[in-house]
Symmetry: C2
Subunit: 135 residues, 2 copies
Amino acid sequence: MCMEDLSKSVIFPIGGKFESKNFAGTVWVNMLTPVGSALPIANVTFEPGCRNSWHKHAGGQILLVTGGRGYYQEWGKPAQELHPGDVVGIPAEVKHWHGAAKDSWFVHLAIEVHPEKGPATWLEPVADADYDALK
Amino acid sequence: MCMEDLSKSVIFPIGGKFESKNFAGTVWVNMLTPVGSALPIANVTFEPGCRNSWHKHAGGQILLVTGGRGYYQEWGKPAQELHPGDVVGIPAEVKHWHGAAKDSWFVHLAIEVHPEKGPATWLEPVADADYDALK
């Protein structure tokens, strides 16, 4: 999917580039709910090849895929390919990563579950060899 | 927007027709999260002219508009026109309705906030004269 194609699948405003050592590649994050909301919802846009590091959420997270092609992987399991319309329920304290395919932009909404339980715990990057082996 | 146009804006599966006396017109509701989830998320699709009755949520609700054109109105305030990418934070216990424009399908995600506080309270239908006066 090229950038022009992406523009057709962007529903929620892309927001600004998000500078973080927990992402390999460029990512845009737009908070759709006010700061301090009981239910933080972010629109997250990954450039092709971009993914986050392994991490876990104290209260869990739900991903709603709105554009492109990407992956979700839990530690010790195969990566799961994601497309628009897919929904991923990430249980609390389960180590995982998500991000774009090598050749596609990827857009999802990310909804924090029980954010009052605390922030995400960030771990090591996804090994390049493991990411590169994905189709 | 015709039905063919709608198909281009449907991201999440439309699900089944939802029979309810609290809606005027035909609506489709697809629960994206498991029954009993701490965070119920529904994909809601209104045919042109379809809207729900006035109601309120014990814990509030967030609407994320993904397709078509519709409205959100709080009691005593003017109706607000909605388009894809719009986000509505509905406070707890605020009387309101939402639904499609007369000439357009309308699709939104609906996320319950603090569902443990109890179910929605359903009230009277939106007066036809008030709905018909919308542009």
